[in-house]
Symmetry: D2
Subunit: 293 residues, 4 copies
């Protein structure tokens, strides 16, 4: 029990993340991500987990092993003890995917209150690709270079025209229609930029990153997720490394797949493999590995 | 305890709501709301509340009083025991407000997988109004009739042009660019229609209705909320009535406002008023009313 | 689009689950689980998923493949479209673990309103085991048979005495103390039974089952989870089978483990294995299997 | 837009709350509350709200007015931008009420992993009262003083006996049964102390306080809520004051009650009352007050 602690303590602080507080990292043509605030560090995960374990257990002996153990066995609640607040600016079609993650707090710029600035996303030439033949929801090969330029021009022109009409509708002066902002904005394109504050805990953020850093995610959200991931790596390096090893670069096999693997590989061979290859598994992880065969 | 119940029971059924299952009610120019499925009725609220009260309490004696008591005292969990699933089609700018309600399940049409049909919202002439002078986020007086027609034309033309460009970009044949759908869609307007399944419990739905039926809500979401409210009225009439009396048509006063009211009104006058006016308060409600003074 | 649908449809119905509605299945010495109501079936998962995919995609061609695809790739939202409501009676120490699952609705019997009935859990002789030497949180070998009987007697006697004192404290008559129920109950044991209504969607329920059917879960919650699982199997058999194949009987390997596996197994060997063993993988699943090597 | 901000900023800091970090405040006989960490201050609420309002609005001019406006009109999302983490030690029957608040993160001491220390709640003599005659769930008049002493003695003795039996069951040495901790604990009383870390945002915390500081809440949770409230008052004094004025000391009237009030009070009388009494309402609040009549 910690109730004997008397006197002041300081807030958990991440020196690396502190250096980036408030500094926007550019994403796409007009977007950014910046860290506004955060709570907790790797130590806070350990601190919360040790409350559960109490005095009755001494192992896992060190903090890194404990965090890896928690990640490996999906003991997710201690990761909820860290929280981060970001300020993001992104095209509306990206924001529409972003808000599908419900366990987060959002305050977004309102096109009902305020004039929408004339900023919109135009893809780089190389990012203009054809519908994928194999992936129903994604991009495939680049299209013909000439077509890429025509497409880019169309995307630019159309958005520009929409913002021109918006200003004509919502403008107040001479030769303007004076229509309310909440109505005029309906002709703005999904490429228009919006911005918002977003607060989320580390557990839910890692889940977000797993989905949005995936190769099946749309490129325009993936680039944001990668910047966010770079912040997490600075903030909670041990938790991020565990996430990288167990989630991003892990693989799951179904019952049928395991039947095949078990027929092909013997536990004894894995023991041999572990001796030959140095893949950095702890004794406990090696034991858990063998238990799957 | 109900563990003595043996044998089959039927699911709670709302005969009135059953009649409307699957039938879309039109909203705006191309939208709709329809009920796909539901679970529970007014009885389910009572049933869940009585589990809490157990055998130790006999009152409140009848179901309507109980539901009103729960609503009045913010005992919200029994209202979570009813669930409804809707199929909705609405403009994207409305859907963007809708998804801000996080305690709900959504499956939305994907513009990455599928071609976006050329359907978009064009406001009625009378709904084209100026920015409100008093309400920073809303509409005020109608604009000049000629301007209304010009504005409506612009909104229609701009959306039409955007869909034309979309088809040019995403189309596959001759003189089409063959750009992936996930990219081509970025030039579509916020007035484009989307559709989704939406599942939510009654407690969270009533909270949604309170915010979105409010006069400060944008007209285009309010008309959807009103159709949803009409379904709730058929589904759980007693709960809806309580919601109407205690939330929609109730008023909250701050400490300072109460100081003024208490100086102006004596409990005795309220007792007199209750005798003269027949406002339908139960004995218990009258008692609670007086206790506020 | 389904907006052309006119006229009545019926609610999705699971004939197998209907047969069990209201019928309690006994668990432990005084507990039970019974299904009170439900919404949706396997078809509802498919229905919601197809809204996302819209008209632009025809495959996956059949419903079972689609559900398995959704489960395999963690497309979890369509599973939220099914909902179930259970009535459960269980010891308080089990209920304390149960409520840690936050995405659910609960109405519990209140010991403040009602007298707590004198029902408490006493373990079977065979379930009285020693602290596990390897698993810090669980049970190991059975203890000495004589000690088992002594322990069972103590557990029974102590709970009996606590309920006796409770009745002495909260009782109203002669030689009773007349203490309020909310206070008298504090001496009741964690083995006392409570009961509650519990409503949860299928996605969150499967997550619950994964954790609580695990061999590391305490036996007394596992037996409840297994009864709940048997209901899910009747309710949504296709989804449950996919859960069984991909979650319950699947295995996840970390980056380091994959390094070893990839060194030991060649994709070519897997192709051979798939020909020899008939593990029921579809062509698509076989392809995804090979892509991991 | 804030994207022009370059360079380091500091985290929002509450000097008053910093002074109490880590220091436990005693509650009941063996419990405590202490602040472990926090994120955000009153300024963070303003900051998030201003993102929504963007550049298009200059008023409400000052921060206090804005926070009060947000509270009054249930614009709750900016209050989610502040987060606090507490370490709490309380009897299990209090913790059972506490965890019913689902929008929070918890890591609790585990009686499966660790030995439960022999600490339990015994009420003060004055807190031993009879069942309320009017409030089905609460306490009424004190019981006879002699009975109070007998009851206190019983509560103490029974808990002491249960812990003695627990040690006999779970103990390992001679004349101990060596039963696993997860099983032995089932005979412990609900008065036994547990402890946990609890992280919650300010919006949900204020909702918790409103329910748990209410006179109908059980005294033993109310004393914890009051200590938590005292921390919130130091942390976000402006938000807490608004909560106090609009929620804790506000009153809500139903449609029927408003009918009576409107018959008894004229808007003109309220205007007069506002001149006579100085209740500190801003011009805008006075306007909103009158609009209710």
């Amino acid at each position: 029990m910690t109730d004997k602690t008397i006197g002041r303590v300081n807030r958990a602080t991440s020196p690396d993340l502190e250096l980036t507080l408030g500094v926007p990292v550019r994403v796409l043509d007009h977007g950014f991500v910046r860290v506004v605030d955060y709570m907790g560090t790797d130590d806070s995960i350990v601190q919360a987990a040790r409350v559960s374990y109490g005095e009755g257990t001494k192992t896992p002996s060190d903090d890194r092993s404990l965090i890896r153990y928690l990640m490996r066995h999906h003991h997710t609640t201690p990761f909820e003890m860290c929280e981060i607040k970001l300020h993001l600016k992104m095209p509306i079609f990206v924001a529409r995917q972003w808000v599908r993650h419900r366990t987060a707090s959002i305050n977004e710029y309102s096109g009902r209150y305020s004039v929408m600035p004339a900023e919109f996303y135009v893809p780089e030439i190389d990012d203009i690709q054809s519908q994928s033949a194999t992936n129903k929801q994604g991009r495939g090969a680049p299209i013909d270079p000439e077509a890429q330029h025509i497409a880019q021009g169309s995307i630019h022109t159309m958005a520009k025209a929409a913002f021109g009409t918006y200003e004509f509708l919502a403008g107040d002066g001479k030769n303007k229609m004076g229509v309310s902002r909440e109505l005029a904005r309906v002709i703005l394109p999904l490429s228009a930029y919006t911005e918002f504050y977003w607060k989320i805990d580390l557990h839910n953020l890692l889940h977000f990153l797993r989905l949005r850093m995936d190769s099946h995610a749309q490129m325009e959200i993936r680039v944001y997720a990668e910047v966010v991931a770079s912040f997490v790596r600075e903030w909670c390096p041990v938790a991020y490394e565990a996430f990288d090893h167990y989630r991003l670069n892990g693989e799951t096999f179904s019952q049928g797949e395991m039947d095949v693997l078990r027929a092909l590989v013997q536990a004894r061979e894995i023991e041999e493999g572990l001796k030959v290859l140095d893949v950095g598994l702890s004794a406990r992880e090696q034991q858990e590995f063998l238990a799957k065969f």
